[in-house]
């Protein structure tokens, strides 16, 4: 661990939390409106990418913190620095907010002038040595009272964006938000990044563990986790809508009505790795192998399409018109 106190100190752990929800707007936003919505700073542009899906990424904003780091074993370590947060909008429909920071292996025992933290955005320095395992486990478990709270920061940004006057605060269908917490263990540069774990827990909580080479920025890991969270949200939400529509039992216009929003708003959003850093694109492969995210999605979409096709044959046109 050389030069941990230097300006370009190496980080050993990156962590973050992504919150994903449906944009509270009856209409999906186009690129221009998306840029307006996510303009968190007047002097930094919103990054807009229209291919293969419309993706808008806000500038990063910083939150200063000076508090205990979340630790699973109760060890008390004070951390000082900044947490970066950003918001993303996909196809003008799915809104996400990520808060993340990186940690070096050790830091000075005193608080330094604030300007010195600000020139290294997204870095939180521990006082003394970082208990790496306990901190990673603590982040995945979630912050305790008075501990650095990534969920609060990402939720705060999400709430700020949702309050934007551009939005009519109406949703085309009901859905729940999801949270995805992630940690990335830093590995030597040149090694291949890896997905160590993806856990679907209760209450809309997902956790991800990555191995991330030093030469890949933490923002790339954040981008990957946003992509994972987005597709996990799609699977979760569509599955839920299908369950509620009692596809097997119900028939007639009610089932069609329940499936209509899926077709109109969600089916075209499935586009894994569309905006993932090329160094991390292959991490999707593990999830495609097992449990097979895309296989499940294809299966769900097929069921919906088959159902609607059957309906179209059985019922005259007016049923489809009722949404």
């Amino acid at each position: 661990m050389t030069a941990v106190r230097g300006r370009g100190a190496r980080t050993v752990l990156a962590c973050g939390e992504v919150r994903t929800c449906l944009l509270p707007s009856l209409q999906a936003l186009d690129a221009r409106a998306a840029a307006q919505l996510l303009r968190l700073r007047a002097d930094v542009p919103v990054r807009i990418s229209e291919r293969p899906v419309l993706h808008a990424l806000s500038p990063e904003v910083l939150t200063g913190v000076d508090c205990r780091l979340p630790t699973a074993d109760g060890s008390r370590v004070r951390g000082v620095g900044t947490v970066t947060a950003r918001a993303a909008l996909t196809e003008g429909r799915l809104l996400q907010a990520t808060a993340c920071f990186s940690l070096p292996a050790a830091g000075p025992d005193t608080r330094r002038p604030w300007g010195q933290y600000l020139v290294r955005p997204g870095l939180v320095e521990p006082f003394g040595k970082l208990p790496r395992q306990a901190t990673a486990a603590g982040v995945l478990r979630g912050a305790g009272r008075g501990e650095l709270d990534l969920g609060m920061i990402s939720e705060g940004l999400l709430a700020q964006v949702r309050r934007h006057p551009l939005l009519d605060r109406r949703v085309p269908f009901k859905s729940g938000p999801t949270r995805l917490r992630w940690v990335a263990w830093r590995t030597p540069a040149g090694e291949r990044a890896a997905l160590v774990n993806f856990t679907v827990a209760e209450g809309g909580l997902r956790t991800v563990e990555l191995r991330l080479p030093e030469d890949v920025p933490a923002s790339a890991a954040a981008g990957l986790c946003e992509d994972l969270a987005l597709h996990d949200w799609l699977l979760t939400t569509v599955q839920h809508l299908l369950d509620n529509s009692r596809l097997g039992a119900a028939d007639g216009p009610s089932a069609v009505g329940a499936l209509y929003p899926v077709v109109v708003h969600l089916l075209h959003l499935w586009m894994p790795r569309a905006h993932v850093d090329p160094a991390l694109g292959h991490l999707w492969d593990a999830l495609e192998d097992r449990p097979g995210f895309s296989r499940q999605w294809e299966n769900l979409s097929r069921r919906i399409r088959d159902r609607l096709a059957l309906q179209a044959v059985a019922v005259p046109h007016q049923a489809l018109g009722t949404r």
Binding site: R7, L40, R41, A42, D43, V44, P45, R47, I48, S49, E50, R51, H55, L57, V61, L62, T63, G64, V65, D66, C67, R68, R78, V80, T82, V83, A85, A99, R111, P113, W114, G115, Q116, L118, V119, P121, A143, G146, E147, L148, D149, L150, M152, I153, G156, H275, D277, P278
Partner: protein
């Protein structure tokens, strides 16, 4: 995404670089009361400044054999409008020349609020990241909404105990205090008739960021100097570009470091400027460019932005200080 065949320019962030001198030396800052005191006051000012300017040049020569130094002068046209460029600028230049000083760049103070239709001051407010007092775990709002910025925790407002017990006075606390606090709370703006009036320290902080080459708008440089070749200056301040180059100097307006020469009554203002700079998250691309280029020239800048600004405070020359304090 990097190294890809397919690219979308709207998906990328780029920060254009700006030319940089070694040192930006400010020779003065003219307010209405200085102007009203007549040319003699300017003459005294420049005679005093000349001495310190020479000292600053000698200091810069210790870092580099051929230091690139640009000089600048700021005229207040924001808080009070007085005189005209046609009348004032030639007088300033003549008095500077009499003292053996050359002013390379002249700026209007209102340029720190809005320049070329870009709201510079407003943009900088979005970049304020308050220094978190111990215990801040992410619940504080990221940007000051009150228009005040402090270097610590304020005295709690009023008795607020739910049980009705009256709490005694509690002192404010400087976050970076060494044993004892020096607490400071700076007003960044006020509202008047629905219009925001920026405070002098806040505009001065924007001015420092411009001189340090750290301001951008959507990745493009701002406050780019316009060359002034004509001899006749306009009758109206609005017709003078926000920043003009008056000489054919090769030294750029922005620089790795700044040095500002001021009468000592400005000490509090500049202390407030440092407080603001210390809590400003500047453009990361611009920050990197300055760090890399200064290091390549063997004169790396201090990591913290506020540390790059140097000052000389001097006693206002004979008999004029009283007039300035009104």
């Amino acid at each position: 995404m990097t190294g890809a065949v397919f690219q979308e320019t709207t998906a990328e962030l780029r920060t254009q670089s700006v030319p940089l001198a070694h040192l930006s030396l400010e020779l003065g800052h003219l307010y209405m009361e200085d102007f009203e005191a007549g040319p003699a006051r300017l003459r005294e000012h420049f005679a005093e400044v000349r001495i310190w300017a020479d000292a600053v040049r000698a200091s810069a020569a210790r870092r580099s054999k051929r230091p690139r130094i640009s000089t600048c002068f700021l005229v207040d046209d924001y808080f009070t409008r007085f005189s005209t460029p046609a009348e004032l600028v030639p007088m300033v230049l003549a008095e500077a020349e009499r003292a053996g000083l050359v002013i390379d760049y002249l700026a209007r103070e209102s340029a720190c609020a809005v320049a070329d239709r870009i709201e510079l001051a407003e943009s900088v407010t979005h970049r304020l990241v308050e220094s978190p007092p111990p215990g801040s775990h992410g619940s504080r709002p990221p940007v000051s909404r009150t228009g005040w910025l402090a270097n610590g925790e304020r005295t709690p407002a009023g008795p607020r105990s739910a049980l009705g017990e009256v709490k005694g006075w509690q002192p404010p606390q400087e976050t970076a205090a060494r044993n004892h606090s020096i607490f400071m709370d700076v007003e960044l703006w006020s509202e008047r008739d629905g219009r925001r009036l920026w405070s002098c320290p806040f505009l001065a902080a924007v001015w420092q960021l411009a001189r340090l080459g750290l301001l951008r708008h959507l990745g493009e440089p701002v406050l780019v100097p316009a060359q002034w070749t004509g001899t006749d200056f306009p009758q109206d301040w609005d017709r003078l570009p926000p920043l003009v180059r008056l000489t054919d100097t090769a030294a750029a307006f922005s620089a790795y470091r700044t040095c500002t020469l001021l009468p000592n009554r400005f000490l509090a203002v500049e202390d407030a400027v440092r407080l603001i700079l210390d809590q400003t998250d500047v453009d990361a691309g611009a920050l990197r460019q300055v760090a890399e280029r200064s290091a390549a020239e063997g004169m790396p800048v201090p990591a913290a932005v506020a540390q790059r600004a140097g000052y000389v405070f001097y006693e206002e020359p004979g008999g004029f200080s009283e007039a300035g304090e009104t």
